[in-house]
Symmetry: C3
């Protein structure tokens, strides 16, 4: 049964680009997560995987991102594939000489079976996928646009714990206005029923009114709160994020809000519960106390990170038609 | 027959450095191209190649070049080999501390089976090959000197189409004065009989008189033209190039000539023919209209690029004695 | 017998971090060197090794070092393993955004089986090993701290030649005050009996009094000399080093001492002998004349460099439990 379902998702994604979370219907997610679980068993298995044996995946990162880069590089190699790694091509001769993204992508597709692109411009991954006529493209983050593999790993991490993506109660903390990963998480949960999120942030970092209404309209229940005291004690997960210094023109403003909501042992004791998990997309710069790191509920380092690799392994195997 | 001929070229190139197009006699090219064709079948074959299994090739690039770098990296991995990749060693500690090219090369030859070097100084690849006593060296471009694998892929692309390298009629457009790839192409065609090239460029970007006479003397027929109207309608190939902005001290001068000769749909319709191919060494910055890209005669993106990988696969297999 | 001894060292080092030469007792060194010798046979063997098949090793280099980086990269691949390579993560987004070393290490340990770290701060490798809870860490140099694989390859090179690490007579030349590799070599020889070192350096670059007494106390005999004429003619090895320009505030002072002691053909003829070896940790900037390079006693390029790869292969196989 599981096998045939995976075959059906495979049929759907073989040769396809992975550009946005929007491509994944609830059933797709279910199947992807089932495959991701298999990948978890394959990685670090004593017997090396040969699933991508003979496949070359180009990682072309216009914007460096050590974690996403390392995760994709490891994902390819965990499956026995090889990578061609190009970092900062804009400082390389061809791009510096005025080569367009189109030409660069069409050059690199000639060498490989799939392209993973990270770029600082919104929409660039979509453009790259339009240019690449013979190989699938994965969006590894296009500026303030999308970063679908991050969104998928967050949803997978919740699903892995609770075995469902509906009927969830979550608390989201930090920079809710700008946080791309938060927006994606909300979007993802909107695909399922009866989810509720408490949003805890400084007033200046709340969702825009338009976004708030848009998401509500999609069926999720959003509740903005202003103090830790309003955190519901029965949440399934807390999803904390960094206040993004680079978004502030006025650094005084940043200093005022950056440490407003910190997850401490005490906060977790007072408002958390035993079954919840504590997530963070990383990097973290102080908004979760490090003395919580070894708490088994803290999944941000370790499980959540590893899930990113497993999700990427699953996606690569899917688009390359190897499952 | 083919096999024994390849064995003979193998005998000639095993353990040898690839520094210059001059190393290749017409018969060598014939055999190399026959091997390159085999490589084309090996690449992207469902069954992974193990030809370079256990081989490590060091790519040491003093001057970044995303395309050449990616092409060599992919070539090694298409054959099941591994790379050690060193980019910008001059910003690395040892070289920054004053280490000579000689010592750097002798360090890296200790770790691998072959070295591919890209360097900004003319003659550096030859020097590197002198220093490396135990492994072969491939020149991946030494400044304004040579870039033999580029020259070979251009010749291969023509040969693949017409199955010959003599009796050809070509049109070369762009910066004929400075274009290294054009000079190499002319050199290569000089090895064969009855070739004619029409050279279309702004007056200031023509061959020097000395170069013109030198090449003519080698047996090729060169005809300088000044207008698109003089393009012969029965050419076998057009080879277009970028006007190299970085060569101009006076940017006004550059602006005057950069867009002088552009390949448009109209030009191709008026002066082209059905059997010809349109080549470009890349990067391109406007001298070929992008609406020609999907024309089957336009081989610069796709076939010509892929041929670069196949040629490099063939050369690596040859010098490592694996064919 | 040899096998069981290696098994015993394996039992000791499996899953362990390699942070310092101090971890190696004389018997450990003996066994490590026996394993290193096997690695020498494995490298460049016609039959590719699969010892690390399925293993991924992350190389995270905060401070670029082409030689150490290349050597580790090649070591992993010589054994059939794969690398995830992260260079200059401090210029990457996460670290630039304020991520701690702890979080970075815990992210990368999620993707791999072992981490090799090079960092500019003393103690950083130890810290990294504390943070990494699931994979072993190898110190590839932590600023002016330790660089154990360099120390081990130096000792191995001597042992390979003389089949012992006691009863040796050596001459050490260059920057004895600052040279990390010299300090490590002295430390290593202190583990064995009846070793004597003549120390030849400008007065300003001698050992501190404290270091001198400390080492003497450990059982090695140190003799400071001021002129080439005092070099003993029966030395087993000369270990020469670069005067480290970057340590001098006053460049005039550097100019005064940098070329004070140069190994020339004449010096080697007058004070050397047939059985000795001439070592250098590299990079070299003139303190050994290049016309000595092809002398069979000059092991610094070639054998000593290759030994670094073999030592790293052996250590990787040990900590990953593959021998």
């Amino acid at each position: 049964m599981a096998k045939s379902l995976i075959n059906s998702i495979n049929g759907k994604f073989k040769g396809k680009d992975i550009l946005s979370l929007d491509q994944f219907a609830p059933l797709d997610l279910k199947m992807l997560f089932s495959l991701t679980k298999k990948m978890k068993n394959i990685a670090f298995n004593a017997k090396p995987s040969r699933i991508l044996d003979g496949n070359i995946v180009t990682l072309i990162f216009y914007e460096p991102s050590s974690r996403t880069f390392g995760s994709f590089s490891a994902a390819v190699k965990q499956l026995g594939g090889q990578t061609v790694e190009i970092q900062n091509p804009q400082s390389f001769s061809s791009v510096a000489k005025g080569e367009t993204l189109s030409d660069t992508i069409r050059v690199f597709e000639a060498y490989c079976d799939a392209i993973v692109i990270r770029h600082f411009e919104v929409g660039s991954a979509k453009k790259a996928s339009d240019y690449a006529s013979s190989v699938p493209v994965i969006n590894a983050g296009d500026g303030t646009g999308e970063h679908p593999t991050q969104a998928l790993l967050d949803l997978y991490t919740i699903h892995e714990k609770f075995n469902r993506l509906d009927n969830l109660l979550g608390v989201v903390g930090g920079d809710i206005l700008n946080g791309r990963t938060i927006h994606s998480l909300i979007k993802g949960l909107c695909k399922f029923k009866k989810n509720t999120l408490f949003l805890l942030s400084p007033k200046t970092l709340r969702l825009t009114r338009a976004d708030f209404l848009y998401f509500q309209d999609k069926g999720i229940k959003l509740i903005e709160i202003q103090s830790e005291k309003e955190i519901p004690k029965n949440a399934d997960f807390w999803y904390w994020t960094r206040v993004q210094k680079e978004r502030f023109h006025d650094l005084k403003e940043y200093e005022k809000v950056k440490n407003r909501f910190i997850v401490t042992k005490k906060l977790l004791k007072d408002y958390g519960n035993k079954k919840m998990i504590l997530m963070h997309p990383l990097p973290r710069v102080g908004e979760i106390d490090i003395d919580i790191d070894r708490d088994p509920r803290a999944v941000y380092l370790g499980p959540q990170t590893r899930n990113g690799m497993y999700i990427r392994m699953a996606l690569l195997a899917l688009i390359l038609g190897k499952v």
